[in-house]
């Protein structure tokens, strides 16, 4: 990911874009929120000023009266009460609207992020670590939520408070205001210094925590091996070292973080004390025209001033972190989506005499709709695939495939054999255009696949991968993933074809059994069978099969093999073979090495050649 460096800088670009998400769709509501914040903050400031009125205008005059008249006091308090409760109402109003807006914004961002992500090419997923993408949806959205619901209103209300308190202070006493500003400068300086230190150690703590948790995961995973080898003490020794290291960095990180709050609070107290002392001296000395009420109210204002400043200094870090997260989210949204310039689509047709006629009914009879000038021609879908001198590289300069040619007529079986990294999987990536070739051409029923719209091409190609990837949901839903409009009967028929029916029927809930965690409760072989059923229900004319390597017991393996055989029947098939026993009847076997085709032919001719295939077959080499 083109991630900006982990510097503690305010990201203006991300901030602006985020503001667009917040303000544009929620203009009216945001105006209401802003008004609410202003009212609520001003009510608070008015409270600080009220002390002066209370002392100077109500209490002091009454002290001189023989029979004190409480009426003005009651009036004053009532007036203040109204202001205060309006403030409370405004607070409630803006807080409640803000959370709704924030959740709306987050939903907007989340949904857009996922929708955009679905349009990204496979290369994006191949080059970006899964954890990084995942954290856009978890950590990054979470810090964003905190920022929008908490930091943002708090910053705005702090700003209003600071500005209005500042002017109120200035109006009352200029020398005391200067004093306050001096202390505030110190507060900012301290906050920056400690914040920086704490940030440094937090990064260290995260690193140490990561190392320790990694060690724990590795050891727990191998705990049984540890037991078998009596290795407990050695494991504890290494663990202790990492654990002590984390303890050290955690102490440092939290030490600075924990000190922040008391330091800021007490600097606020110090400011308060200094104002009392200096103000008192000025008043007693008769300078600056300070009354008791003025000093009392100034002290109250000092409180109102210190609070938002320490809040802002505590929020600053989380704002920067949230913006860094927002930047990562926006980067994901801005990735270039998968391009598709194809104009050939796959449509259902009816045969009327000799002509093919397009229809909206599902006829199970398909054809390519090829635009020619203003008109269309229809090419029946047969499953004829040709690779013609194909070159390919993932990264320019590192050729993965060179000059690959192959031809598979409808119903033929082509097997790819070779070591890991020989380029077998790459070929399958090219057939369905997960990646585009650099030189040569691949045609499907005589049409260059770069002319075919990707969704149509992929519908015409089935894939059974060795990593099964089932989705949470019932078994029925998982099979139906292959074709969304398949009826229950069709799904069951596909399961029967794939040899999956018997194990499914033995489950207590049958086809309604809910699968979680990629089918963790099923065996590898059973997952494979479902995988095959899913492809069978899609019923495409061309299949790509990547056989499973992991050890399945013999009985299940023969079930899987039978399922595969049934699936292959009557289709054009590309098989990536890990067991040579399954491909002897192939029409074409291609032995690959380093992106080249080393040998080609059928089983008999290759055995006669006594080359690589012969050696593999006789077990002299390992196939992995």
């Amino acid at each position: 990911m083109r991630e900006p460096k982990r510097s503690m800088k305010f990201d203006k670009f991300a901030a602006k874009r985020l503001m667009d998400y917040i303000f544009k769709p929620h203009k009216a509501a945001m105006c209401l929120v802003l008004v609410g914040i202003v009212v609520s903050s001003l009510a608070n400031v008015a409270g600080s000023l009220f002390i002066q009125t209370l002392i100077d205008d109500y209490i002091t005059p009454m002290l001189g009266q023989e029979v004190p008249n409480f009426a003005p006091l009651v009036g004053g308090i009532a007036q203040m009460a109204i202001i205060y409760y309006i403030g409370v109402a405004a607070n409630l109003l803006y807080n409640r609207s803000m959370v709704t807006i924030a959740q709306g914004v987050l939903k907007e961002i989340r949904d857009e992020m996922f929708e955009k992500m679905q349009k990204l090419p496979i290369s994006y997923f191949d080059t970006h670590p899964y954890g990084d993408i995942m954290s856009c949806y978890t950590n990054d959205t979470d810090t964003l939520r905190q920022m929008i619901t908490q930091s943002l209103p708090m910053a705005f209300s702090s700003l209003i408070t600071i500005v209005s308190v500042f002017f109120a202070m200035l109006y009352r006493s200029i020398p005391l205001t200067i004093l306050v500003l001096c202390v505030v400068a110190v507060m900012f300086f301290v906050a920056r210094t400690i914040g920086g230190r704490s940030g440094f150690y937090f990064v260290r703590q995260q690193k140490d925590l990561g190392a320790l948790n990694g060690y724990i995961e590795e050891m727990m995973d191998g705990q049984k091996v540890i037991k078998v080898f009596n290795h407990e003490e050695a494991a504890i020794r290494d663990f202790t070292r990492l654990n002590d290291q984390l303890c050290q960095s955690a102490t440092n990180a939290n030490r600075f973080a924990n000190m922040m709050m008391p330091i800021m609070a007490n600097l606020g107290n110090l400011m308060y004390a200094l104002v009392a002392i200096v103000g008192g001296m000025l008043a007693v000395g008769g300078m600056g025209g300070l009354t008791l009420g003025t000093i009392a109210s100034f002290l109250q204002l000092t409180r109102s001033f210190a609070m938002p400043i320490s809040q802002i200094s505590q929020q600053a870090n989380s704002v920067v972190m949230a913006l860094a997260g927002a930047r990562r989210i926006f980067t994901l949204m801005d990735e270039v989506p998968e391009e598709d310039h194809g104009d050939v689509t796959l449509v259902c047709v009816e045969e009327t005499g000799k002509d093919l006629k397009e229809t909206t009914k599902r006829t199970n009879h398909w054809a390519w709709k090829v635009p020619e000038g203003t008109d269309f021609t229809y090419v029946p879908l047969n499953g004829d695939v040709v690779l013609d001198h194909v070159d390919f590289s993932y990264v320019p300069g590192k050729q993965i495939l060179s000059d690959i040619s192959a031809e598979a007529s409808p119903g033929e079986k082509v097997a790819l054999v070779g070591h890991t990294g020989a380029g077998k999987t790459t070929i399958t990536n090219l057939l369905n255009r997960f990646y585009d070739i650099q030189n040569g051409a691949i045609t499907y029923d005589g049409i260059d696949i770069s002319r075919i719209q990707k969704p149509s091409l992929r519908k015409a190609l089935g894939m059974v991968l060795q990593d099964t990837h089932l989705f949470s949901g019932t078994i029925m839903e998982n099979i139906r993933y292959g074709r969304l409009d398949a009826t229950d009967e069709e799904c069951i028929a596909a399961a029967k074809l794939a040899n999956a029916h018997s194990f499914i029927s033995r489950l207590p809930e049958g086809y309604q059994t809910v699968i979680t965690g990629d089918g963790a409760d099923l065996s590898q072989g059973q997952r494979q069978l479902l995988n095959i059923a899913r492809a069978a229900v899609a019923d495409p004319p061309v299949m790509i099969l990547d056989e499973a390597t992991s050890s399945i017991d013999t009985r299940t393996e023969s079930l899987v093999q039978k399922g595969m055989d049934a699936l292959m029947h009557g289709r054009t098939v590309f098989v990536i073979a890990h067991r040579l026993s399954t491909i002897q009847n192939s029409d074409l076997i291609m032995v690959m090495e380093n992106g080249h085709i080393l040998e080609r032919g059928n089983h008999d001719t290759l055995m006669q050649q006594k080359g690589q295939y012969y050696q593999l077959y006789t077990g002299a080499f390992e196939l992995e």
Binding site: G47, F50, I51, I59, P68, F70, L73, I77, Y84, Y85, G87, N91, L92, M98, V99, T100, A102, R110, D111, F114, Q118, Y130, I133, M134, L209, E218, K224, V225, K227, F229, A235, A250, N254, M259, M261, P262, A265, N266, N269, A273, A276, I277, M281, V284, L292, I295, A296, Q300, R458, K459, G462, H469, T549, S551, T554, R555, S558, T618, G619, E622
Partner: protein, 575 residues
């Protein structure tokens, strides 16, 4: 929190006790500050006594500085206490797990143990830090401020008799209603993560079936649910701050009104009025903090519970008293041995069998036939639930565990290599092995050929989980590691499945010639792997259905014949 956790305090105790002391110091001084302030206003400013202002002012500044100092010290102590406490907990948990038997590990599952040692500890550490700071600070602050209020003007304190219950009830109501909603929110979040996770891992499936839109729909659905629940929960929580404000404002108004009356009546001073207003904020803020601490404790409780489960779990397998410290030979006897993983059905029922020392035994059978279970009883990884297992003529339960497991070397079905060099990994078998011994073991396991092709040979670094070697290579390294133990019994549990047939044969041949006195037990899927064994056991559904040589079994055992037939078509044509 429960006992086992407190026992883990250790060197954190000092700081855990010191921290509240400093917190109390800080709080007392913080309460003292507005009090001094009121003195300055009344006796200094109001009476025009410059000298008094200077004197009490100096005291005020000193008080503030000490409060700052105590605050910092409390911060440092709590950081130390929390870091040490969590370190001790982690250490105790890890050491405890090291004593666990296989049954204990199965009980918690690997993922469960990892969570209990990572996330749960982190949660508890945060809660602990909060507790020793805030949970002390807030009540002390509240009580001190209330006490001072009573001291200054007892009648004024009556305001709190009304306000505190009001705020307490309001905050409680909010939390009570919001808490279940938040639980649901987090649940839905898990669902969202699941959708994204499955989508990312299965992106090739999604794309090849052209299911982008379906996935987006699925995502939007969960996303909507989060929006609905989260807004609802947060809207409830949004009552917090207005409630708090309402209480504080009402207090200030009441204090202002009553205060004015008292001042006029001569029972209160202006300074004291200011003082009381300061306390009002402190009292009500503390109340809010206390309610927060309660939420923290509830959330940390679940984690604490899970951690203490690990700490109190007793290992199901113990060393006997007066253990046997020597294993005579590699003979094995199963004497009516039965085993159950719990539940009513026996995984293994009434197996009797004698394996002479130095023989090679093959085991064949489908998934769930209890092949692995059978051999795991030999190293006493599980204890029999009925009958006995004898190694070298002695019941395995009478051996010292380490002695027994050094003599019985097992290559588990789930082979794991650890991050570190190849040599380091092999030395798990024998910590003192020199390079000659390591090379020899590697050679026997046919691992030398590929290891020596690596540029750094035995110093090649293995990534976590052994992801940078192929499955077959990993299996051979695991065999070499087991051989370095020079065991009396060697057990391979389906350990050559990814190795090609020729290498597989070579390894077996090396066993025959190089370690003839070691008893070898080989579990395999391929007939070719066990064909030459002195005895082959055919297992089905927890029982030994038949045993004999390859030829004998081919003649009489139906299951064996079936497996043999299914493998004949394929790749078993030996070189």
């Amino acid at each position: 929190m429960k006992n086992p956790l407190i026992a883990c305090m250790g060197d954190a105790k000092k700081y855990a006790l010191l921290s509240p002391v400093f917190v109390v110091g800080e709080v007392v001084l913080e309460i003292f500050i507005p009090f001094l302030m009121s003195k300055i206003i009344d006796n200094g400013i109001d009476l025009g006594d410059m000298d008094y202002i200077k004197r009490v002012g100096a005291l005020l500044i000193v008080t503030t500085l000490f409060s700052l100092l105590f605050g910092m010290l409390a911060g440092i102590c709590s950081a130390k206490a929390a870091a040490r406490f969590s370190r001790n907990l982690r250490q105790a948990e890890f050491e405890r797990v090291q004593t666990f038997s296989f049954a204990n590990i199965d009980h918690f599952s690997t993922a469960g143990l990892v969570t209990r040692m990572t996330t749960d500890i982190t949660n508890l550490q945060m809660a602990f830090m909060m507790i020793i700071r805030i949970a002390v600070r807030a009540p002390v602050m509240m009580i001190a401020a209330l006490g001072m209020t009573c001291f200054i003007n007892a009648k004024m304190a009556l305001i709190y008799v009304v306000i505190i219950p009001f705020l307490t009830i309001a905050l409680q109501l909010i939390i009570r209603n919001a808490h279940p909603l938040f639980t649901k929110v987090f649940h839905t979040y898990d669902k969202l993560n699941e959708v994204v996770q499955e989508n990312l891992l299965g992106i090739r499936v999604v794309k090849s079936f052209v299911r982008e839109e379906k996935e987006t729909d699925k995502f939007n659905h969960v996303s909507d649910e989060i929006y609905r629940l989260f807004s609802k929960a947060e809207r409830l929580l949004a009552f917090n701050s207005p409630c708090m404000q309402f209480a504080v404002y009402t207090c200030i108004l009441a204090i202002s009104y009553l205060g004015a009356k008292f001042i006029v009546g001569g029972t209160l001073t202006t300074g004291q009025l200011m003082n009381l207003i300061s306390y009002a904020t402190q009292i009500l803020m503390s109340l809010m903090m206390i309610s927060m601490v309660f939420v923290m404790i509830t959330m940390a409780k679940a984690s604490a519970q899970r951690i203490s489960e690990v700490l109190t779990e007793e290992s199901t397998i113990h060393n006997p008293q007066n253990p046997v410290m020597h294993v005579a030979d590699g003979s094995i006897v199963f004497d009516h041995a039965s085993f159950s993983y719990g539940g009513s059905k026996n995984a293994l029922s009434d197996v009797s069998l004698t394996i002479p020392s130095g023989t090679m035994v093959g085991i064949i059978g489908g998934t769930g036939s209890a092949k692995s279970t059978l051999v795991q009883l030999i190293a006493r990884l599980y204890d029999t639930t009925g009958g006995r297992v004898l190694v070298g003529g002695v019941d395995v339960k009478d051996y010292d565990l380490q002695t027994l497991r050094d003599a019985v070397s097992m290559v588990l079905q789930k082979n794991v290599l650890f991050s570190g060099t190849i040599a380091e990994n092999l030395r798990w078998g024998d910590a003192n092995a020199d390079m000659t011994q390591i090379r020899h073991a590697a050679k026997l396991a046919c691992a030398d050929e590929f290891v020596e092709k690596f540029p750094e040979q035995y110093e090649t670094y293995i990534e976590q989980g052994g992801s940078n070697v192929s499955g077959g290579q990993r299996q051979r390294l695991c065999i070499a590691r087991a051989l370095l133990k020079q065991p009396k019994i060697l057990i391979l549990d389906d350990s050559t499945s990814a190795v090609d047939t020729r290498t597989d044969a070579l390894i077996r041949q090396a066993f025959q010639t190089e370690i003839p006195d070691t008893t070898k037990i080989i579990i395999a899927q391929r007939i070719s792997s066990v064909e030459q064994a002195d005895m082959i056991l055919v297992m089905d559904d927890g029982q030994i259905v038949d045993s004999g040589t390859h030829e004998e079994l081919l003649l009489r055992c139906a299951i064996y014949q079936e497996v043999y037939q299914s493998q004949q078509k394929g790749d078993d044509t030996n070189a």
